[in-house]
């Protein structure tokens, strides 16, 4: 009998920097093999036999009544198969669809258009070029209406009513006032305070703009009633449930396959009208219909992010932050398709109390409709935490300015202390673990904070402008516990299904859906860590509703907190069963066996053991199994996380500003993240780099603006600017590790932290550069040269 010792693989726990770890460590990604060869399969790469192409006609107006739609010239085009309008959809019951926030959204506009770029008609033609040509052959007569563009004016008594489709809707209020915290206690904190600062802060509308746009291939088979969907989205199971409801189709007859996805960042969470049109088109035409939006369509019509107009007050007493009061107007655009758990209409914005041990806080949010594209989705953010962190970290700096305190010192004095965890915040969150001051100090060391301050003083004396900006964030990610969190009634839990084959090779199926996060590698590593199987021998399946367990997908940094927990637990279930089989194989009682990575062995006699592969072989063989046990070595779980995980980090930005042209250059960026245990540090660092680049973009250039008529002014990559390699500094990372106490692996989510934490650091740095010399104490993003110059002239203005 085998002693259960491998001769080819080290059984000892490898270091986390090991090149080929069995378990956690810097394992090179498995998915790279196809991507570096150009063999990924993205949506537009898929061609089905008989497939036709859709194109969308969109509104040129932000607000207009539709007088008539004439499709006859388009239908006369020799390559056009069909043109679908709202009238056609009405007969199918598909003219309107629910949003993920229990609002409704027009699939195709019938009565009127409510934002520029809204879907008006869907052309189906033999090829993409003909479909595009036919768009100009559809004649639509519009009667333009005045547009509501500014969220602050949306509730004015004379504001035109946008949602006259909704019974009883008399104004542009999208959802009632929502509150968190304790108003009276907050009033008391402010009354007792010795310093109070006030700011109006806008987090402007921006867009996730993944490099691959959104699209779908719908393939309805009228004979079988089966609907096959190819669609890169972040939550395939939830989408399937939505389509079943919307189209009245049987859920089990719908299959969604997300193959490779060219980035999501929140943009691929919602269901878009183009998807419903592709499905309707395939049902009508009886052939597969492909629809892929172009870049302009992506920017003007799909889920934007942010657009929060905020008024805040923060106070301190005896040198420590004590209270925060926030009043927000949320601009949802023409339809409220905000992505967030049902019970949280402002998402997790009330985490705005940040990393500080406050006396009290109060938050209120009201949401309005405007004649702008619907949203908002979380752009690499867990449900409005980005807005919250931006606000609180800007306010702390404002308070530090007022108190003439060093911004790090004020934070250090006000942090929640390590011994206070688990910590109940003044708005009701229970932070799991943290040692904030330590992380802050690591960031200061990497930055050389004192030296930077000296350099700044020297430069200032020479007339040069240099700024040092700090932010410290705490996020709550990994939604979430089913008792608190659902989307459209679906609990935010994730499944995992693990099958160990007779040879010891494994397949783990998960409900999270990668858009580049490296799930095929890191989830294999979790199984490897738990079972001692080399990660190469673990195949990760995801993104196919027929081949993966139900779950809510990947967004809000929830993959590792929720699906990661599921995979750890399913692996442990398999390990527990393996122990029982091993006990039969080793003729020992289960409680006399001990586990080391990859094998069960007899306590006190380590040479006597069996490898997991040998146990798997036995599980499927005719050999003896424990009394009453079924064969096989499989397990399945649905993981309901007991709480969110609360990653945090300390970020420091160093900027230089040209005193004459006002150009801002981010010279250095230091990011020290604590996301608990890191499964694959290489992947974690890669995620941080990417989010930091997005933060540089949001702070300096990424913005969606509109003119007074509601025309979108950033409708292509010529005007929606995304940073290139020349704007991004060589990011400097550090880490601390404070395990999550309730996550099976001690891990916390991380993907969004860098996007959440970096914009306030950069904006704080810009203000830090300009405060002494130019008296600047506030600027809204993006810090473009023109806007920074205006601030230097004392004329800082919010973006349009």
């Amino acid at each position: 009998m085998s002693t259960g010792v491998r001769d080819t693989v080290e059984v000892n726990l490898p270091s986390r920097d090991h090149e080929r770890p069995i378990g956690f460590g810097r394992l090179k990604r498995k998915e790279d093999a196809r991507f570096i060869r150009g063999k990924g399969t993205y949506l537009d790469d898929i061609r089905l036999p008989g497939m036709v192409h859709g194109a969308m006609l969109r509104s040129p107006f932000a607000h207009a009544r539709i007088v008539s739609i004439d499709t006859s010239r388009a239908l006369a085009h020799p390559n056009v198969a069909a043109v679908i309008t709202a009238k056609d959809l009405e007969t199918l019951g598909l003219a309107w669809m629910p949003t993920i926030s229990y609002d409704t959204q027009a699939v195709l506009a019938g009565d009127k258009v409510r934002f520029q770029g809204q879907e008006v008609a869907f052309v189906i033609a033999t090829d993409e070029y003909s479909a595009n040509d036919a768009l100009s052959l559809i004649d639509v007569e519009y009667e333009p209406l005045p547009a509501v563009v500014n969220a602050r004016k949306a509730l004015d008594p004379d504001a035109p009513l946008i949602r006259d489709d909704k019974a009883g809707q008399r104004d542009n209020l999208a959802s009632p006032l929502w509150e968190a915290g304790d108003q009276e206690a907050t009033d008391r904190a402010f009354a007792e305070a010795d310093t109070v600062v006030t700011r109006d802060i806008i987090y402007p509308r921006c867009h996730p703009a993944p490099l691959e746009t959104c699209g779908m291939i719908a393939d309805f088979n009228p004979e079988t009633g089966q609907l096959d969907i190819y669609n890169g989205n972040q939550a395939p199971h939830a989408h399937r449930t939505v389509y079943a409801h919307v189209a009245g189709l049987a859920e089990h007859m719908i299959r969604i396959r997300c193959q490779d996805i060219g980035g999501g960042f929140g943009n691929k969470v919602p269901v878009y009208p183009g998807y419903v049109c592709a499905i309707a088109g395939s049902i009508v035409a009886g052939v597969p219909v492909k629809w892929v939006e172009n870049r302009t369509e992506n920017l003007v019509s799909t889920g934007f992010a942010r657009d929060y107009v905020m008024h805040a007050e923060m106070c301190s007493k005896d040198g420590k932050i004590t209270g925060l009061r926030v009043d927000v107007i949320a601009d949802h655009g023409a339809f409220d398709s905000t992505a967030q758990p049902t019970k949280f209409p402002a998402g997790f914005f009330h985490i705005v109390c940040g990393s500080y041990d406050l006396q009290a806080s109060h938050v209120q949010v009201k949401a309005v409709y405007t004649n702008k594209a619907p949203g908002g989705v979380a752009y690499r953010c867990s449900f409005r935490i980005t807005e919250a962190v931006y606000l609180v970290e800007r306010m702390v700096d404002a308070l530090a300015l007022e108190m003439k305190a060093d911004p790090i010192e004020l934070r250090m004095r006000s942090f929640i202390a390590p011994e206070q965890f688990p910590y109940e915040t003044t708005t009701g969150w229970t932070y799991d673990s943290g040692n904030y001051a330590e992380t802050m100090r690591v960031a200061m060391d990497i930055a050389g904070y004192e030296e930077l301050r000296r350099e700044q003083a020297e430069k200032r004396a020479r007339g040069e402008l240099m700024g040092i900006g700090v932010s410290f964030f705490t996020e709550g990610v990994g939604a979430g516990p089913r008792k608190h969190m659902d989307i459209l009634g679906l609990a935010m839990n994730d499944g995992a299904d693990l099958r160990i084959h007779p040879s010891g090779k494994a397949v783990v199926s998960i409900s999270a859906q990668t858009q580049g996060q490296g799930h095929e590698t890191t989830f294999a590593q979790i199984v490897a860590e738990e079972l001692g199987i080399p990660p190469e021998d673990v195949e990760v399946r995801h993104g196919d509703t027929d081949r993966s367990p139900y779950g809510l997908g990947t967004y809000g940094s929830r993959s590792t907190p929720v699906s990661g927990g599921a995979v750890a637990i399913v692996s442990r279930k398999v390990r527990d069963k393996a122990r029982l089989i091993a006990s039969t194989m080793l003729e020992a009682r289960p409680e006399d066996l001990a586990w080391e990575k990859g094998r069960w062995y007899v306590k006190g006699d380590p040479a006597k053991g069996v490898l997991i592969e040998e146990i798997a072989e036995r599980a499927y063989s005719g050999g003896e199994l424990p009394e009453g046990m079924e064969g096989g070595l499989d397990a399945q779980v649905i993981y309901d996380p007991p709480n969110l995980t609360y990653p945090y980090g300390a970020y420091i930005a160093v900027v230089d500003i040209d005193p004459d042209t006002a150009e801002v250059k981010v010279r250095r960026f230091i990011a020290v993240d604590d996301c608990g245990v890191r499964i694959n540090p290489m992947v974690v660092e890669g995620q941080i780099h990417g989010g930091l680049a997005e933060g540089v973009g949001i702070a300096l250039m990424e913005v969606i603006t509109f003119d007074d008529e509601g025309n979108c002014l950033n409708s292509s990559f010529m005007d929606y600017l995304i940073p290139t390699a020349l704007e991004c500094p060589d990011f400097e990372l550090g880490e601390t590790v404070t395990p999550c106490p309730h996550h099976p692996l001690g891990a916390k989510g991380v993907g969004e932290s860098p996007n959440v934490g970096s914009p306030p650091a950069i904006v704080n740095a810009v203000i830090d550069a300009l405060h002494v010399t130019h008296g600047v104490d506030h600027i809204d993003m993006p810090c473009t040269p023109a806007r920074v110059w205006a601030a230097m002239q004392g004329r800082a203005e919010p973006p349009q």
Binding site: Y129, N132, D133, L713, N714, E727, T784, P785
Partner: protein, 292 residues
């Protein structure tokens, strides 16, 4: 993806062939070279030519050479070749200044000087460069060639002296002693069009500015020739104070409009700052050259 409307395509093998093809194509005929201005406009259906004449095979229009007292640049010379040309870097370093900030290196592998000038976008850099250098261009038509100064080349926004069935074939830049030149640009992000840009050239004689050329991008409906500032400089010693004064004239003499890149006052301010900077660098280069 956005796709252009249908058109006929013809690939020219000679300049004469281009002219003939343009004549055949009539009002809907357009020349395509690098295509990086024209094709995006065609995809947006803002340009809908019915007949495209591809001139990319005309290697005879791809050159940079010194010819007596002139530098001659073939209209099909690509940005990358202008950027890398040692001859230009020596004679007119303004080209390398500009070329490192025009679009991005991959686009510069295709885009051409002729295409840039003929697009006549007020934000385009090379029009200002050529204006500052007092260049002229050669335009070929069915009846022969004509030479047009840069001042007369820009007729209006997106409009040049190149007529129907005509082709821009060459750019000529006079070479005179004591020249220094520089291009300064501020953009929202690498690869973006200018918020404002200044091209400047000075010709020094005996320690004084004998002549100056200054042109601005992106602060008017067309490339702006700064004649008042040029006159101000003539005959004076190059000093920072003088350049600042020229910058003030630049701020006054431009006519920017507000857009996503910035408001009018900022653009005027930039025109001034960049003009002073470009003149200072141009002058320093002229002085360096004098020493060499």
């Amino acid at each position: 993806m956005q796709t252009p409307a249908a058109f006929d395509y013809e690939r020219a093998t000679s300049v004469e062939g281009v002219i003939a093809s343009l004549q055949r194509g009539g009002a809907g005929a357009r020349v395509i070279a690098g295509g990086h201005s024209l094709l995006p406009m065609m995809k947006l259906r803002l340009a809908n030519p019915t007949h495209l004449v591809d001139i990319n095979d005309l290697k005879e229009l791809q050159y940079i050479r010194e010819d007596g007292s002139e530098i001659r640049i073939g209209a099909l010379t690509r940005h990358v070749d202008l950027e890398k040309s040692e001859l230009l870097a020596r004679r007119f370093p303004i080209f390398r200044d500009a070329e490192t900030v025009i679009a991005d290196p991959v686009v510069r592998n295709r885009g051409t000087i002729g295409g840039s000038l003929c697009q006549a976008d007020a934000s385009e850099d090379l029009s200002a460069v050529c204006s500052a250098l007092k260049a002229s261009v050669v335009i070929r038509g069915a009846t022969g060639e004509r030479i047009v100064s840069m001042e007369d080349f820009h007729v209006g926004p997106y409009t040049t002296a190149v007529g129907d069935a005509e082709l821009l074939t060459e750019i000529r830049i006079p070479v005179r002693a004591g020249c220094g030149s520089a291009h300064e640009k501020v953009e929202r992000r690498a690869g973006d069009w200018a918020i404002a840009a200044t091209s400047a050239a000075v010709w020094l004689e005996g320690g004084a500015i004998a002549q100056a050329g200054i042109a601005l991008s992106a602060v008017g409906l067309t490339t702006i020739h700064l004649t008042r500032a040029e006159e101000l400089l003539r005959g004076k010693a190059p000093t920072q104070e003088l350049f600042a004064e020229a910058g003030e004239l630049a701020s006054a003499d431009c006519s920017p409009t507000a857009d996503g890149r910035g408001p009018v006052d900022y653009k005027r301010h930039l025109a001034g700052v960049l003009t002073a900077r470009a003149l200072a660098r141009a002058s320093a280069r002229a002085q360096d050259q004098g020493v060499a």
